[in-house]
């Protein structure tokens, strides 16, 4: 992924996360030494693709705590009341808004069409392969590292 695309992704995603979820993203070029990326944990994976003028697909790997807190902020529900279905739906909608906004910049003539986003729980997932992947963008948040792997053609 080239640097100019990474920059547009960061600016776009930061706007979406701050405006909708009051969550701040800090771009990372490498995983901090304190992070145990080899350890498996619970994640929510949200996937979305587009086709038409441009083709692409993006996978958002939300650490469980980040996905849960985004949902709590978005829906205004209490920690103990939030359900997995709400967390998955919010993650899917986040991917939809983030990539929809990104396409608005990358495809201003609107020739590409977004597919319906999907989200699911990953129970024992270790992001070690993602952290070394050249197509992955990493963002530090208050609730762990958000990994976004994608391609845009």
């Amino acid at each position: 992924m080239d640097e100019s695309l990474r920059q547009v992704i960061f600016e776009t995603f930061s706007d979406v996360f701050e405006k909708m979820f009051f969550t701040f993203l800090e771009p990372l070029s490498a995983v901090p030494a304190s992070e145990q990326v080899g350890d498996a944990g619970k994640f929510i994976l949200a996937e979305i693709s587009y086709s038409g003028g441009n083709n692409g697909n993006f996978c958002f790997y939300f650490p469980w705590e980040l996905a849960k807190n985004i949902t709590i902020n978005f829906l205004g529900v209490e920690d103990e009341d939030v359900k997995l279905s709400q967390i998955a739906d919010t993650a899917a909608e986040t991917a939809n808004m983030a990539i929809g906004s990104l396409l608005g910049k990358l495809d201003p003539k609107g020739q590409s069409s977004l597919a319906i986003p999907k989200a699911r729980e990953l129970v024992d997932f270790a992001p070690v392969s993602l952290s070394a992947d050249a197509e992955t963008c990493m963002f530090n948040t208050e609730f762990g590292i958000l990994y976004v792997k994608g391609r845009h053609e």
């Binding site: 279905s85 709400q86 919010t90 909608e93 929809g100 906004s101 608005g104 609107g110 020739q111 977004l114």
Partner: protein
């Protein structure tokens, strides 16, 4: 003087957030209906009096653009203003929506104030006589914190 509102969005989360935003806007709500796609929205429109539709564009089975076409082509329904709340923001898509008679457009991600402002504009144009009866403090309420 309350307004019956229909929200069409395949995301239950988004429908909840839009409902909360509309409630906080001060617009008097009568009935609030929810649909997960355009097809469900049309079924609700066939059997309920609806004053305004807030719809996503990108939905499974029947999208917002098809819903707008169906509403515009129906003599019983084309009086109902439809506002898009969507990530689809290209000029081409919006030009198409304008030609089909969309009443307003809110781009996701949105600030609650934007929905409030556009909803008021659209309702005032469509139902001026009913908006006159609304309490002034509701019209002037700009505080919409979640």
């Amino acid at each position: 003087m309350a307004f019956n509102i229909l929200v069409a969005d395949d995301s239950e989360t988004m429908r909840t957030v839009i409902k909360k935003t509309v409630e906080m806007s001060g617009v008097p709500i009568g009935e609030f209906h929810e649909a997960a796609n355009g097809k469900e929205a049309l079924a609700i429109l066939e059997s309920n009096w609806i004053d305004v539709i807030l719809s996503d564009i990108n939905m499974p089975e029947m999208g917002g653009m098809e819903l707008l076409k169906a509403v515009s082509a129906n003599e019983d329904l084309n009086r109902i203003p439809l506002i898009f709340i969507t990530t689809e923001s290209s000029d081409a898509r919006m030009d198409e929506a304008k030609k089909l008679g969309v009443a307003g457009y809110v781009k996701k991600p949105f600030q609650p104030e934007i929905i409030k402002s556009i909803l008021y504009d659209v309702l005032e144009k469509a139902y001026e006589h009913r908006m006159v009866d609304m309490p002034a403090d509701e019209n002037d309420d700009d505080d919409m914190d979640f």
